[in-house]
Symmetry: C2
Subunit: 387 residues, 2 copies
């Protein structure tokens, strides 16, 4: 294990009916709140009403910022920060999935930042603080509800960049499985791919003596592999929704990366694709990750062999690590396909015309990945294999 510092101050309210705690939190954080949400599904499924009722019980008034995009944009962040300044708001409440929460984090930090907040996201400046942030989660996917990270797209420069800070951990997050029950099939699948990808990014590391972390990763992956197909048959099942919801949060709240250094190249590669083509993040990951695995396992097959046995139940039976690795990656491909994830860039109409541009974007800050290192030409190879 490597030396590490771990801290996660987010208070988690998990389970049906936990929205009632929003009232107490609003009493603590203030009466003037910016309410950030997305395309309006929360108005159809009753979450919006429940949120306003809980805020109202605290005497809180919300100024609204609806319409946050699936890949949230810096222009929306600027708009949110402007609303906060204009109306003298005290805190930010995100009601939605990872995109809404990521946007709200950027807004909360931009509201107290002097200057253009894109400088922070593009690592030319450091955040100086943030207003308090709370979340009501409506999509099991990114884990943003319990970490300080955020991904924002600059629609002008066509960059999609991750950033994060200790200031932007939510003070609280409300996770009610019923609030995710009306998520449609495709979004449910993308969320499942996303959370599994987060585990993979942390599972593939070269740090010795991290058996607890490796076992935790495998427990989450096994749980998803078991629960997801059942959920696909029964999308309204709240027990299964709860299991998947919990997996998404645990996959990226810092627990799995204590003492290990994850890879994260696939996220860089996918962000470049969806910055150029605006495709769903989970869809892009489902397409790219198996190809990265082909490449990484050719050099380091052992961890992939372990994944095959411990996650997908492949029988070892005297097979070599390379053989097991191949079977494990095939099992992952089959699993993702079985729940309806895309398998090729062509599924989104993406051809080879912008591969060079995307590879440049993915490696804009230098070579990517820690498990294996990828230069721009390696990234091009992976994109090409995924066409």
């Amino acid at each position: 294990m490597r030396p590490f510092v771990y801290e996660n101050p987010t208070r988690l309210y998990f389970g049906e009916g936990q929205i009632r705690h929003l009232t107490d939190e609003a009493v603590k954080l203030g009466r003037r709140v910016l309410l950030v949400y997305g395309g309006g599904s929360i108005k159809r499924n009753g979450v919006y009403d429940a949120v306003l009722e809980a805020l109202g019980a605290a005497g809180a008034e919300a100024v609204e910022l609806p319409g946050v995009e699936p890949n949230p944009r810096i222009s929306t962040v600027r708009k949110g920060a402007q609303l906060i300044r204009e109306h003298g708001l005290e805190w930010v409440l995100a009601v939605g999935g990872g995109s809404v929460i990521d946007c709200a984090k950027a807004i909360a930090a931009a509201a107290v930042f002097e200057g253009d907040f894109w400088d922070v996201i593009s690592r030319r400046a450091k955040p100086t603080g943030a207003l308090p942030l709370g979340t009501v989660l409506t999509l099991a996917a990114t884990g943003s509800e319990m970490n300080g990270g955020s991904v924002i797209t600059n629609e002008v420069t066509k960059e999609k960049l991750g950033w994060g800070s200790p200031f932007t951990y939510p003070r609280f997050s409300i996770l009610d499985p019923a609030y995710t029950a009306s998520v449609p099939r495709d979004q449910t699948v993308y969320g499942i791919v996303d959370m599994m990808s987060h585990v993979f990014e942390q599972y593939f590391h070269h740090d010795e003596q991290a058996p607890v972390q490796d076992g935790f990763c495998e427990a989450i992956l096994r749980t998803i592999v078991d629960a997801a197909p059942k959920l696909m048959e029964d999308l309204g099942n709240l027990e299964l929704r709860g299991t998947i919801l919990y997996c998404g949060t645990m996959a990226l709240n810092g627990t799995l990366s204590m003492g290990v250094t994850g890879d994260w190249a696939d996220h860089d590669m996918e962000h470049a694709v969806s910055a150029v083509y605006d495709i769903p993040h989970g869809g892009g990951l489902a397409i790219l990750f198996p190809h990265w695995m082909d490449r990484a396992s050719a050099r380091y097959p052992e961890k992939f062999a372990r994944m095959a046995v411990n996650v997908f139940g492949v029988r070892p039976d005297g097979k070599s690590a390379a053989e097991l690795a191949k079977e494990g990656i095939a099992a992952l491909r089959e699993f993702w396909k079985s729940i309806g994830a895309p398998t090729r860039l062509a599924d989104y109409g993406i051809d080879d015309s912008k591969i060079g541009e995307m590879a440049q974007k993915a490696t804009a800050f230098g070579p990517i990945g820690r498990y294996i290192t990828l230069q721009a030409e390696d990234v091009e190879d992976i994109y090409r294999s995924a066409l």
Copy 2:
């Protein structure tokens, strides 16, 4: 999964050399600190000097409370609270194992409590707050470094009671594997039994749909079962010390009990034994837990069968759950014996003369346990089987 609220604000500094962060923490928390420690081993192994140096670099002055007992006493708590009031101290630093940290938690809360703090520990009053607390851990065992719980003994009434509060989570804990390297063999074993027992208390629950939590429990148990025998052969091995240290913290920081209701009867039973006989907590648990398992598995064999397969590698081979459960419990007995844990109350010279008294103490607040419910006479049976 049950609805739950989770929050753990403790900042963890894990790894060799992390003591350097103590200086920054002292700058934040104040110059006047109560330094709480135990029998003086920290003066022999250099930890005391490193702590004073780090405090000194922050310009902090320590008033010392040495001599905290292995089962910390309410009289020591009162003494610590008195020192804080006399000297106007601002925060508490515990340097030691679980007993020292538990005592420091009680001191931090007693210092701001009006009245007799035993009323809080015996659940007749609620804590009203606490001074900030930091810890430097020197023993992998109780997990107290990352939770709000504490166990205190009243040497007059011969009661040993657990209590806890959100106020008494350490602000920070420094976990350096090298600081645990000189822990003698028997204390190392007791610590290992203690952390495994914490996992068992949370693993045996009746809540459905907690596959992640169950998998996390098994990952920690498997890791300990693998690492502990190697550590017994090589007590100074810092990688193995680090692995065990990490397991102890993760076993009781709230992660394993999200959404499930643990049992905890064995802890109640052991506290009654060590309140009367002052034996090591880990030793008492090693003696009692297998007998509790015999009883619980007779009624609910399935989870014990799962433990047998997933923790101890017992081959299922068409065996019944009851058969697997027996093999699993036998494997646990063999494992604890193999690392040198005691197996019978007679190992501490305990006979049947105070069984009734201990059973009364264990059930003083009513029947104990959630996985199976134990009345006083059931507790007597378990004590008797463990003679």
